[in-house]
Symmetry: C2
Subunit: 454 residues, 2 copies
Amino acid sequence: MAKIPYKINLSEEETPRYWINIRAFMKNPVPPMLNPANGEPVPGEALNAFFCEELAKQEMNETDRFIEIPEEVRNFYMMYRPSPLVRAYNLEKVLNTPAEIYYKFEGTNTSGSHKLNSAIAQVYYAKQQGLKRLTTETGAGQWGTALAMACGFFGVELAVYMVKVSAEQKPYRKTVMETYGAKVVPSPSDTTEAGRRILAENPDTGGSLGCAISEALEAAGKAEDCRYVLGSVMNHVLLHQSIIGQETKAALDKYGIVPDIIIGCAGGGSNFGGLIAPFMADRIEGKNNIEFLAAEPASCPSLTRGRYAYDFGDTGKMTPLIKMYTLGSGFMPSPNHAGGLRYHGMSPIVSKLSDDGYIKAAAFEQLRVFEAATVFCKCEGTLPAPESSHAILATMEEAEKCRKTGEKKKILMGLTGTGYFDLGAYRDFNEKKMTDFIPTDDDLEKGFKTLPII
Amino acid sequence: MAKIPYKINLSEEETPRYWINIRAFMKNPVPPMLNPANGEPVPGEALNAFFCEELAKQEMNETDRFIEIPEEVRNFYMMYRPSPLVRAYNLEKVLNTPAEIYYKFEGTNTSGSHKLNSAIAQVYYAKQQGLKRLTTETGAGQWGTALAMACGFFGVELAVYMVKVSAEQKPYRKTVMETYGAKVVPSPSDTTEAGRRILAENPDTGGSLGCAISEALEAAGKAEDCRYVLGSVMNHVLLHQSIIGQETKAALDKYGIVPDIIIGCAGGGSNFGGLIAPFMADRIEGKNNIEFLAAEPASCPSLTRGRYAYDFGDTGKMTPLIKMYTLGSGFMPSPNHAGGLRYHGMSPIVSKLSDDGYIKAAAFEQLRVFEAATVFCKCEGTLPAPESSHAILATMEEAEKCRKTGEKKKILMGLTGTGYFDLGAYRDFNEKKMTDFIPTDDDLEKGFKTLPII
């Protein structure tokens, strides 16, 4: 076989024309969303008040295996995709491993992560529906930036409710979004009832993601030409993110490579679910025997220490109930946890596949995660996002096992993004000011007590 | 002919194995560097005290047309190269122009710019020579970051003298370099005689590039296993940057595309010289009739308003004399000028080609540059560096001319990097706090008075 190059290219003709809908391959259905008021399944139409119609349809779709990527979305993808699929020859050398390591790198666009893949699709459908405005929330800012880029492209107005303390700590994230034309509102704000209520109770609060969601939802509900969009967890977001896996599989197929294990970081699960999608479809149908490993932070361990239960998607308990691995909507990771992957729950699709035994999970402490990031950046060039670095550490451990056993495993890893806007965390790590935090069983019990009783 | 894709790929076999040495094609030689003490040409060996031997050889080489890229350097290139060559279909649509616009995007690596192309080569040769340590200076931080990445990869120690005010304004740039293992010294420092002298005279100074160069040179001169490296202006840097043009030409050749005009921003000239190299070689030999346009800031207009004269390369007048377009080594651009492109001189190669009539130049005011950047980022996705945005504005003007004349010109533009670390400037622009500054003739006269008399 020909030597595998550092990067496997795809021509424009070879790039995927379809997202893959993993739900349509699953033997056991993903349990439906429930109305917390009566415990009944939520009908698709009920989502239309807050979500775009096409996205609500995709959210409920469990039959169509492939969904065509609209031409305008595909044209946008073409500007920054296919994302690089890199053979990590230099990391292999440093680890002295017989394993082959491949990584799919989603950070070569201005949002710095995979989030743009869904943002551009969501804004496209919103525009098709004739909507003029969108609202969303953002914490660290990757999703807000991605959505601002997509709205700037399609000429749709956007209001981003950004957790106030984050807006203050990362003023440049705000600047990027504003440059693309978005309005950034530090949350809580006095522009919504929810915000005013919270400010009245606690004028000095730095805000929270739960509060920003409440404000974005309220603002979207006020106008007929406005809807709310979000960047992870939901089924339609995983659908769009399947472009990651589709491209990866098309590239690997050119060299006849089938991974032995696929490793991704998992917070809300959209990157992980997108990366594994076509491989998991084959796995379910018995066409391969790939292992799937979700790498999560030890400080927010929903898959490894959470419960598979119905829970609210937000801290404010405004959403329908979702069956997922969860730490309880009241769970908050320790403030010393850097970067994203701080969501209390997990994508219902990833959760169900985990419960069915297709996906394994492992949790990693952040000091070791940053050590792995430092090794990676020196030999592979790219400074990785803290989130992605969980997958790097898991990959390095797998490769080191291979060094001991002599196995020539093929490892595929998702490198979701860059750490260019997370340098405060790197500085803390370099200056040895970073610490680990692993919640005790008692800490977790407090979170579980916030689970609804149904 | 087949439709031209959004991005033209090169396979690993198609990527260049040779840098192209533009000097070996020039009909009129680049005037030699002169010793300021006696006005005599500087012999190549004299450079060895401060530069790596191989780099000094490349600096003087005017005969070899092609120089093989060492395998280890090429392997590193393979991790982040070929850089994307994008057909700007979306920008064309926004401008409603019949012109075809292509851009070569050098920002998809952690240094955020093309600087890495030369950094990795320079550190490779340093290691080959058995050197253990390097020193350099950095202002905005792109070069320092690129060199830190290269030194991290090859395991060579690095001390970066970073202009103190810049280190304070951009603490995260410092963090990136430190993460790759570099030592960052805010300059002026008390670690060198030059630094101590300046601090004694002016304890509160924020430093300058001239001072940082002096410190880096002094530190390099102290030890046998240490040398000084730099990231623009010099002939060997343009040689390494020719990878940009070599890749671009290989990609365009696949579709039989010959640009009518090539546009790049020009500060020290390394990106511009690298982008145009193979096209200029053909131009000199009468094989094409391409126009070459260097876009520079109106606030630091070396090509459009400078003199073609012998001058010092640094403010401290420590270097040999270089024949180049210059505003005088004492010229300082106004502090309200954002981003790079603030060097008083210009690459001797680019200068000679300009003097010979092969290169035209135009100067642009920064408010219009940032307006162009804002248009570009919305339709093409990427948030461009302020430096690159000079080329964007020049390209947009050219495309708008085509709209009026109906010409279907093929425009090739160099997009040197991203603006992710320049968001303070974007914020000022968004908040209408940015101003233009065009030096008066009197301002320029003051700079010219610092030219040496030889």
